[in-house]
Subunit: 345 residues, 2 copies
DNA sequence: TTGAAAGCGCTAACAA
DNA sequence: TTGTTAGCGCTTTCAA
């Protein structure tokens, strides 16, 4: 059915099609776009010619006339890293379906490059811009009163009237906490990333508020450190020292959780029998490589991207969804590391 | 210095600039492009008007005339995964510098989607296409006699006349082997991914040929399995059983190496004192999270991307670099896991 | 039912 | 030195 893409070596214009079908250019255009009325025979002749010649309308010319480009820009400071990629894929999903193509730009987290790229995108007359970044912290917007709508995904603009779509870090923390409570844990510790990260603070807060609501004390203080396995190993030792009776650890990332898991093993604590473990990110290679496979929180990054794209499309269509921050709920992904503790004894 | 990007709310055409500067459109064009000769005063007046109005030339119109779009397409089957991203970044590097913008398309490894995207890219009159994929195996090309040049990066086209840029898996294996020999190891085992992967076979062959040249027997057979930590753990046990005197393991991926490292620990073998370990990929989170940090082989994916982009640019410029496969050398990244064994005793 | 002509924003010849 | 004109590929009036 689908013939391979081939041999349009030379570019075919509507002029060629018209000539081949022996009609005027205007007629050819109408035939190809199904506009106006004309004899079916004529239309068919044009379509056949177009088919035969492998005609592809030039979207530049079309866009020039329509004043549209059917393109958007995707700007990331994350070097298309672990977080921005799922967001991008979600966005591309939503955009690609609508015949919108995506220009990608990686700013390497450099404001000069960012500015440069935004200029270039605007020059190219993209119809909208999605900005993603590696941190959810509010960041300066990419420009004021830009001629096209902008949506921030997985990051926020400091300008509150801008549209931002972010994950629910606090909700994710709460989710993890409730899951641990539901599986019978009561002495819950927390090892997470640097306190300078909003994500770390919010996740900790989500945990803390659920514990408080349940009338429980946390097991030791929340331990802020690095986003690394190494820190997870250290943090676990600190935690075991501060709260030897800990029966669960909620970690700010899957990497940290792996480090914690290793130390627990080394110290003779079994996961999940003695200590349950919950990570954050649902980063598959980490989560599945962990012993045992790790229960974790998924931020639904793809959904963030899709939502960002949908907001952008709405704004492009002239029905902006109103500014402000949209928070996408997280999900809990249960695995072996929090299997219900068997009754003591 | 750099003022924030702002307020070009309404699109400004060269017509507006010409009117503001009280010159004809043609003159404005020449002034803006530095063509022809004219009074500096006039030129300055035009430039000032353009600046003041925030004029950005419409590249669609420019491209329409020049018959160029200054865009290329980047098609990946890898969902912008771990391998295609560095390649993409490298490509974007080389392209972005030259004012070329990149359309990204993710085919989700689906031939229908791929075809669809390629059609769309061609319709958009991209000037070239880079194809990346998750496997280096030769794959059917994206089309025959396309009107634009195509470069395959991190994958190969089955059509040998196509341009492909791939990593040096065999060389990487050899590099790892020589490094292990140089650090005094002689009983070298190999645990790697599925034999169905060219990458796995080539890496194994690189190791084997170096061992053979050194007159050494491998420690046990090459163990083909999965690209997972879990397999690394299993594989290590098999290896220890088959060749208890093994003093080094070369692994087909960093993930496998981590699994191997864990099993070695569990079995009381110290890394690197008793057994040295080399991975493959230089995937930082894996490599640095490993205990101890992992010596590994880096495929220089960024370089692959840059090279692909350069080939593409050459072809676009009309000086194609000739078809065929280009192999990019790998590098060894030494870390703790192969620290030289201290003399016995 | 079809064709001719204007024009999208721009550049490059050529004329003035 | 500047302005005028034609035309890139296409769509869309409007006239035939």
């Amino acid at each position: 059915m689908a013939s391979p893409i081939e041999g349009t070596a030379k570019t075919v214009t509507i002029r060629d099609v018209a000539a081949a079908a022996e009609v005027s250019i205007g007629t050819a255009s109408k035939a190809l776009n199904g506009r106006g009325r004309m004899r079916t025979e004529t239309r068919d002749r044009v379509l056949a010619a177009a088919e035969r010649l492998g005609f592809r309308p030039n979207p530049l010319a079309q866009g020039l006339l329509a004043g549209r480009t059917y393109t958007v820009g995707l700007v990331t400071g994350d070097s298309f890293g672990r977080f921005s990629i799922p967001v991008m894929l979600g966005a591309e999903d939503a955009l690609g379906a609508g015949q919108i193509s995506v220009f990608m730009c990686d700013t390497r987290d450099d404001p000069i490059r960012e500015r440069h790229y935004v200029e270039r995108l605007l020059a190219r007359r993209v119809e909208g811009i999605i900005v993603t970044d590696r941190r959810t912290e509010p960041r300066p917007g990419i420009g004021r009163d830009l001629p096209v709508p902008v949506v921030y995904a997985m990051t926020q603009s400091t300008d509150e009237s801008d549209v931002s779509i972010i994950p629910d870090d606090e909700g994710g923390g709460a989710l993890a906490a409730r899951h641990l409570l539901a599986t019978g844990r009561t002495r819950i510790g927390h090892v997470t990333g640097p306190e300078g990260f909003q994500a770390a603070r919010l996740r900790a807060r989500g945990l803390a508020s659920v514990l408080a609501a349940a009338g429980l004390e946390p097991a030791g203080e929340a331990l802020f450190g690095q986003w690394s396995e190494e820190w997870g190993r250290q943090g676990a030792d600190i935690l075991l020292h501060a709260a030897p009776d800990v029966d669960a650890v909620f970690c700010g990332s899957d990497q940290i959780a792996r480090g914690v898991a290793e130390t627990l093993r080394d110290r003779g604590r079994r996961v999940p029998e003695d200590v349950a473990l919950v990570g954050f990110d649902n980063w598959e290679p980490m989560v599945l490589g962990c012993r045992p496979p790790l229960t974790t929180v998924d931020m639904n990054l793809g959904e963030i991207g899709r939502l960002a794209a949908r907001h952008l499309l709405d704004a492009i269509a002239g029905t902006p969804s109103g500014g402000g921050v949209t928070i996408v709920p997280a999900s809990l992904v249960p695995r072996e590391s929090t299997r219900r503790a068997t009754p003591k004894g």
